[in-house]
């Protein structure tokens, strides 16, 4: 471009004075100030001030020249490095190639920014040599494709300026830079500008002599409280509020604690979402942590088959995706899916489970998922992902508020950014594209912009050192954090880095850099500075103040009174203002409730552990949420065995039938019965072929062992009923029972009736039938209340657990004719049995009456192993948990 043209037209602007800043945040602050100044001077409109961050200016300057080369984004570079790492013979030994790629890229950036020629550096170690290999591979691709990395940019701009290909401004003010601390490539830009006649002026921070207070606080929380108490007062009293910077070595690490204290003391309304907060964290959280991102990334993972239950839950329960009323429906679907006990969930099952009003969205999603190609360009995947999101209605049908809107916009931008990887990645499978999309979301910080004043900025020491403000707090100024240990790269010989003046190459240079930073923090940022350090770290380890901020005797131990807001001052130190109700009784069951009750033997089981449990489960309908299963569900296994036995006894009929069949034939029958039931209980669509086969084999062995065991019973028996339904009434409590099996037994003492309950899971223990410790009331209930009468069975003469445990089948019985069904001689114990029956009947009726009367007390001996221990959450009692060291 000719000078004449420049004078004549738009490019004149580039001849004006330009301000370049060390950080984008500083540029923003200066722009804010400049605009304010203009408005205060009375101008209604003005040309926007020409202030930019140095790196941003480099990009703008370079791209304004319409170069043929393409500037790569960080992710694009990472793709190249990952590719180089993965192609290398060493990659199979690496735990995380992506982490290695990231580290290698960091090393490469150091080399480029500091203009170090790698080939002239020594290569002592495997790390040095392999890195060269990777770098050559990356360089080859960069060159082939005419690509440029961000670390090359300064050098490139310097070259263009030197060549005269870029118009240079008349004057540049450099603000916020530590003098002579620029890496070589950036210094070259400044040198080139000067050579072209630009007046470059380093604007030094005003030499302030701030009042510096150095405080040692007891712990991290009191440090934040101390600062917040001070801020609270200053913000309240100053108008306009002061510009405050809170600087930390690791703002992300301190965020949760800091945010918690800030909310409590500076903006309690922020806790209820009722108002804006006056602080801002310079660096936002990762975009991937935003609920909209979570919903999006989850729905993109859904597949037609084999979805983890947790993934289905994540989509169904997303509050970012569904409205409150929709979520009531999706939560119901989730609960239903959990209850089925399937280890993997097909999308078709989700569609079946959701309410019909939502079904079309899931169906559309399934349709689009089915259309996915096996491999495609990232941009094509971006479009596909967008279509999937649209199909399910992401980001939901409700209007977005400002923060959500910005997040959604940023996430939609990721689809486009995925498209920028076309040339680097080529055609990839969907999973790879999704991983890179996640990587993009992880790499992007999200801090929504707001339209209210945020006078307090919380940022890193680096950022803060470039800023000017009214008040500066430096927190966590411990010797361990200031300076943090230098982190040189292992991929380049340390000597080479040191020679090039890379600060992190050696502790000495790193210290010098930090000292300069601290000098700026203490001398040029603010007229008033507080430097604080907690005496212990969050884990309680002692901490020393950093001597860079002042010698040991310059620090004052501060034991501030706990700063509290109105809320805390309303609370007592002792007991809170809670009322204990005099009476909190449970009303008796009335007729309406009784009619609606769905009581079964479980009610008694709960009752005998504690009436409170029976009340919660049967009157309030309180149950814990089913957990997604891992592998086969015990209930499914149990049902399979129950059903197979039901079918088998339907054929065998009695002990004679069982005795008449040999093991081989029995085995074949068992297999046949299992196969007949497998299809419904372990559908091939939800369970893999091998899983079904091994469970079939296990169930077969268990049933076969059990039937062999039953063969050894002394008394001939007839299986009269299986899965018998009975509806007795116990003390006016109607019950609905289902008995596994009832045998008519031919004993030497005459015909007897035996009720059998199969136990496929828990241990069968007849101590649970003891009247004083009735933990297994089910069989006693069947016996005592002639549950079989309705089915034409005259009485119950014995109860028996059929313990179907692999390798250890057992008949655990209590009868009125024989103690052990397989060995003992007969003995007429009718009297004792009848006594038991009477006692069982008594306690059952007492329990039923108690339940109906509203008894709901809690046995204090209930332990953590109780079947109902979860329900203790409804009290303030805790089970006496296992002692833990």
């Amino acid at each position: 471009m000719s000078d004449e043209a420049l004078r004549a037209d738009d490019a004149h602007a580039s001849r004006e004075r330009l301000t370049l800043t060390a950080t984008d945040r500083l540029a923003r602050t200066l722009r804010e100030d400049a605009n304010l100044d203009r408005s205060r001077s009375g101008a209604p409109v003005w040309e926007a001030p020409r202030i930019a961050g140095f790196s941003r200016w480099l990009i703008d300057t370079w791209t304004a020249g319409w170069p043929d080369a393409q500037l790569l984004s960080g992710t694009q570079e990472l793709v190249l490095w990952r590719d180089a790492v993965e192609r290398d013979e060493l990659s199979s030994q690496l735990l995380a190639p992506l982490a290695a790629a990231r580290e290698a890229r960091r090393a490469d950036q150091l080399l480029r920014r500091h203009a170090i020629d790698l080939e002239s550096t020594p290569a002592w170690s495997d790390e040095h040599q392999v890195f060269r290999r990777w770098r050559r591979q990356v360089a080859r691709r960069l060159q082939q494709n005419h690509w440029l990395t961000s670390a090359d940019l300064a050098g490139e701009v310097a070259r263009l300026i030197g060549e005269g290909s870029i118009a240079v401004p008349e004057a540049i003010d450099l603000v916020g830079f530590a003098a002579a601390a620029l890496p070589a490539s950036e210094q070259a830009v400044i040198d080139a500008l000067i050579a072209r006649g630009t007046q470059v002026q380093w604007i030094a921070a005003s030499a302030l002599r701030p009042r510096v207070q150095r405080c040692v606080l007891p712990d991290p929380e009191s440090q934040w409280r101390f600062v917040c108490a001070d801020l609270r007062e200053r913000l309240r009293t100053a108008d306009p509020p002061p510009r405050v910077v809170v600087a930390l070595a690791d703002p992300d690490g301190a965020r949760e604690l800091g945010e918690s204290v800030l909310r409590g003391l500076l903006a309690p309304w922020a806790m209820t979402g009722e108002g804006p907060a006056p602080w801002r964290w310079e660096r936002g959280r990762r975009l991937s942590e935003h609920p909209q991102a979570d919903a999006l990334l989850a729905l993109l993972q859904l597949r037609p088959e084999d979805n983890a239950p947790e993934l289905a839950s994540r989509v169904l329960l997303s509050a970012a995706l569904w409205t409150e009323s929709e979520r009531a429906l999706t939560a119901r679907a989730d609960e239903a899916l959990r209850d089925r006990g399937w280890p993997r969930i097909r999308l078709a099952r989700v569609i079946e489970a959701v309410h019909e009003s939502l079904r079309p969205r899931f169906e559309e999603l399934a349709r689009r998922i089915a259309q996915a190609p096996s491999r495609a360009l990232p941009s094509e995947w971006g479009a596909h992902f967008r279509a999937l999101a649209d199909a399910l209605g992401w980001p939901g049908s409700e209007a977005l508020d400002s923060s959500s809107y910005q997040a959604v916009k940023a996430l939609r931008g990721l689809f486009d950014r995925l498209g920028t990887l076309d040339a680097q990645l080529g055609r990839v499978p969907q999973a790879s594209a999704r991983d890179w999309l996640s990587e993009l979301a992880r790499g992007a910080a999200f801090a929504p912009r707001v339209e209210h004043a945020q006078p307090v900025l919380i940022t890193s020491l680096d950022e803060a050192a470039a800023m000017s403000c009214d008040l500066l707090y430096v927190l966590d100024a411990s010797a361990a954090q200031v300076p943090v240990p230098a982190r040189p790269t292992a991929f380049v010989a340390a000597e080479a880095l040191r020679a090039a003046g890379v600060p992190e190459a050696a502790p000495e240079t790193w210290l010098a850099r930090t000292q300069a930073q601290v000098a700026r923090l203490l001398g040029g940022c603010a007229p008033e500075v507080y430097v604080c350090v907690p005496a212990v770290d969050p884990r309680g380890a002692p901490q020393q103040p950093s001597t860079l901020f002042g010698a040991a005797d310059a620090w004052t131990r501060v034991e501030p009174a706990r700063s509290i807001g109105t809320l805390e001052s309303a609370l007592t130190r002792a007991a809170p203002a809670l009322e204990w109700p005099d009476r909190d009784i449970v009303p008796p069951v009335d007729e309406t409730e009784r009619t609606a009750l769905r009581a079964d033997s479980g009610l008694f089981r709960a009752w005998f552990e504690s009436p409170f449990f029976a009340f919660c489960r049967y009157r309030l309908g309180v149950e814990p949420l089913p957990q997604p299963p891992r592998g086969l569900d015990a209930r499914v296994q149990g049902t399979l065995v129950h059903r197979a036995l039901e079918d088998l006894w339907g054929e065998l009929r009695d002990s004679a039938g069982l005795a008449a069949i040999d093991d081989d034939a029995l085995s074949r029958r068992i297999h046949a019965r299992l196969d007949a039931r497998l299809a419904a209980l372990l559908p091939a669509t939800e369970f893999g072929a091998v899983t079904r086969a091994i469970e079939r084999a296990r169930a077969h062995d268990v049933v076969l062992q059990w039937l062999r065991h039953e063969r050894t019973r002394i008394d001939p028996f007839h299986v009269e009923r299986c899965e018998l339904e009975a509806r007795p009434v116990v003390a006016s409590l109607p019950l609905s029972l289902r008995l596994d099996r009832v045998d008519r037994v031919e004993t030497p003492l005459g015909e007897r009736w035996l009720v059998i309950d199969y136990k496929t899971g828990r241990e069968a223990d007849q101590r649970g039938w003891r009247i004083d410790q009735l933990r297994e009331p089910q069989l006693p209930l069947y016996a005592s209340h002639a549950a079989t009468l309705a089915a034409g069975i005259p009485q119950v003469d014995g109860i028996c657990f059929g313990h179907l445990k692999d390798g250890h089948p057992a008949l655990v019985a209590r009868t009125n004719w024989r103690k052990l069904l397989r060995s003992d001689p007969p003995a007429d114990t009718h009297g004792e049995w009848n006594e038991d029956l009477v006692r069982w009947r008594g306690v059952m009726e007492q329990a039923a009456r108690g339940f109906l009367d509203g008894e709901a007390w809690l046995d204090p001996r209930v332990g953590a192993r109780s079947y109902y221990a979860d329900l203790l959450a409804l009290t303030h009692a805790l089970p006496d948990d296992e002692a833990s060291a």
Binding site: L95, R698, A883
Partner: protein, 1131 residues
Amino acid sequence: MSDRVLPDAADRERALDLSRHALVMAPAGSGKTGLLVHRLLRALAVVDKPEQVVAITFTNKAAAEIRARVLEVLRAAQDGIDAHDPHEKALRLSARAVLDRDARLDWQLLAQPARLNALTIDAFCAQIGAQLPLLSGLGGGIAIAEDPRGLYLDAIARLFEEIEDASVPAADRDALARVLRLSGNRLDRLVEPLSAMLARREQWMGAAASTDEDWDAQDERALASLIEPALDALHRCIDEADQRALIDLLRDGAGHAEPLAWAASLGAWPGPDAEGLALLRRIADTLLTADEKIERRHLRKPKGVNKTSGFLPQLPYTLGFKSLLESRQGDEAFVHALRGVLSAPDFALPEELRALRTAWLRVLRRLAAHLRVAFAESQQADFPQLAQSALQALRPGGGVGDALLAADRSIRHLLVDEMQDTSETQLRLLESLTAAWTPGDGRSLFLVGDPQQSIYAFRKAEVRLFLRMWDEQRLGALPLTRLRLTANFRSQPTVVGWFNDAFERIFPRVTDPLRGAVPFASSVALRDADGEGGIEVAVHDDVDAEARAVAGEAARRLAPGRTVAVLARARSHLQPIIRALREQGLTPACQDIDPLAALPEVRDLFALARALWHPEDRLAWAVLLRAPFVGLSWAQMLELSRGRAGQPWPARITAALDEGALDADGRARLRRLQDALDATAAQRSLRAELADRTEAMWMRLGGPMGCTRAALDDVRQGLRCLREETRGGSIRDPERLERRLAELYAAPREGQVQLMTVHKAKGLEFDHVLLAGLNRTVPGELRPPLHLLDLPAATLLVPRPDEAWPPEHPARESSTRAFECLHALYSEARRNEGYRLLYVAITRARRTATLHLTAERDALTGAAKLKAHSFAAMLEPVIRAHIDTVVEREATRPVEPTSTGDTTRLAMPPRTPRLRADVQVPPETGLYQPIEVRTLRPSEAVLAAQEEPVEKRDEGDLYAQLVGTLYHEAMQRIAGEGLDAWRDAGDSRRGSMAAGLRRRGMPEPRVEPAVARVIELLSRTLASDQGRWLVSPKAWSRSEYPLAGLRDGRWISAVIDRCFEDEQGRLWVVDYKTRAEALIAHEHESYVAQGVERYRAQVTQYVELLRALRPGREVRGALYFVDADRLVEVS
């Protein structure tokens, strides 16, 4: 420290000698850390870089303390503070030398104490991994998973998914099925044991790499090395004459009774072979009483010998046998030896067990591989992986050692604290690091520890490693000088005297690495007696009485400058004491004792979170409704459920409110809840962030008003935990959340009495120690799926036999014996660790220690019952006489009738407190409230426009946007460079345009079409008079002109595409309008008309802005529709 000569002065001096590698045994109170710090200073004084001295210790806290001690000494030396104590003087001298070196080499240690390389072994491994990212395989930059359980679960889930994967070798799939069958095909039952194995994988990873043949070859040697000592022990207990006599008697009996028929084959005393072992078991079985558990079998009493066991009455062999038994009564060694024979394994493992082991090894190998995949995907690794990677990096086989580390990082002096708590991997790491060290090379190793304080087996510490080193006096090839400290500077002489006596009596007599047995080494009290001091035992009737007594004693002991600590073996043992202390008016300072999960306020908060997360979580909703801040009574809960018990709670609430159910109080409470739900649901961002919504709900419902100030802190801590676990807005893993909560403890608060577990107390000391729960136990460990035993001869790996093997299964007995033998050794090692834990507890005391126990009395003898494996049982030989005296004395007191309790109260349902229905959180007043910045500061639009003048990304069609952007840029360039330079309408700049489009995210397939489209638009513009006019030179012009302003109290901003002064002196504002696709001619009119309407306001605003900027000038606004080539003035 006193001036007197120390009993171990010579060893202490040698310990500071850098020319020797030292292994120091330093009991509690011997000033171990001080010694380490002194040696560290000596080392620092001779190295080139401070990083070349590495001090490794066990915890972050200990590492921080070492750094703090070093800095303290350096500062004191710098300040020239005098020291009077000879030890301090010497220390100061060493510090002075360090300062001199620092000054000479410009280390600036005091400014940069992070250069002091005192760190944990994990941090050290991470450091090696960072220095050697490739050799370690970590790649650099990998994160540490503090809670790796999720990764373990992931690996386990992936592993068992392979069962369906046909690409996995059939043998491996069969192995998976075999292992799954062990748990009844229930993967959930395998999760815990496999997770535990993954956490301990450093112990079996090496073993898993061995082949079946390797194992088979080792079995025989390993089993023999277990059997032979048992046979030898029996042999030693019975002399030849008795052997002969016993054999003769039994052989004689063989001819008389069937039960002894087996003895017919007895000739000589059975030899050490399979047959001999079987016979010896028969002999032992005949001599001992019957019981399922071997440890409960005792020598038969002569009167217990009868025909059932084969001894017919009055026959000579029976009388002889009885006589032999009579002579052996009380011979515990003999009984022990007989039990040893019974519990010894067979000489070979059954085939089925070996097949099971093969299956396990296949499964474990694949599991480890899956864990690596899980690490890779999450880019995280756990601590064992770090250690493994560090070890791998140092090439343990190659003898390269630390030569691979950067020159200025190569270790010159290595100091390791708490050496007794080292694991096998850590020891191998140390061996690797020092592998290349040669005598006289100026490098030194200093290892210090106390096997008596080895209490971290659960963290994979293995005391046998220390014992082996002590015994062999070397680490790898490095010779070690053994040094032993004996002085105790901590405790009063009476305390030292007591524990010397007590532990001498109860600790194992001899070292036994197999059983983790460490003999006791006594200390010499160096402290002068000063006031009260000693150890007492206090016996109580019940736990509550014990708690009251502990609290009472704590109150009594409190004095200015004195520290009082209550220690216990388990956290739960301290719970009653916390209550009792509070009742005494004392504030307990608990360290990791008060689990947050146990605090009602926190539990209610988490129930609220779960309820919000899952509307169908009926339990969570019920807890929420009962929480004090909602506070429904049981009757109200029932009313709410009447006829709706099948519905989820939110539906019940809505219905009840609609129907006006419940009493007024209930309705008011429900209404508040519903209002809070509605209000927090109304804000989209709040609703989507579970933690935020939980907090908002809790605040609105007045949750804080149900808290004390302390509880409020606990809730906030809980909320922080919730926030961390709900990144992404929702609960990802409820199990992990529960786990996190269970591991959270109420924040330590300052208090008068410190409470902690013995493990936590390690490394600390107190004036008064109150050891509570002496007669309580901790749960035993479950049997693991595999036991691995390292023996000098070989390694033995035995899986737990399949529980499904029926009693008659041929492999069952032998397999069980082998496994149980290893389990017994393991259990014994854990029991031995119990003694050491007790030692750690008591040696914390400077002045006094009181041992509190609750003991039930035996109904018959009145003796106190001491629970097996409790501290009290361990101390029984020392305290039995005392406690029986106390119990006897107590027994003479009249026993008060036990309260039967309030039966009416028993019948009541549990009550919980609640807040008033109208409770309000007091509003905060007088705080600064940020206001909208429209009038105060430049708006976001103003600042953003100035930040991103080029990329104005909007939602919509990216292609159209980028075509437009590029066209705008081209027009700006044309205006700057002149029309001549653009005669080809950009055709020669295709490459630049494509690069620009790619950079901005244009999908590759659309780049070329977009370039073509831009060129088409430019061609159209440049072919048109109007188009050329727009970009032709003017008296004044600007492109992409950024303006800002404050008009009518509102901040405004604009970036004007083009503005200029025309030939008539009028100012123009022009906005370009492009489209992605070309229009056909007949569409032009409507397109232009619509565009004008759509953009009129925008252009008008731009016109006004320019008018304000250039007052008094005529300003015209126009839209240039490129496709239609229409410049339309907008009035």
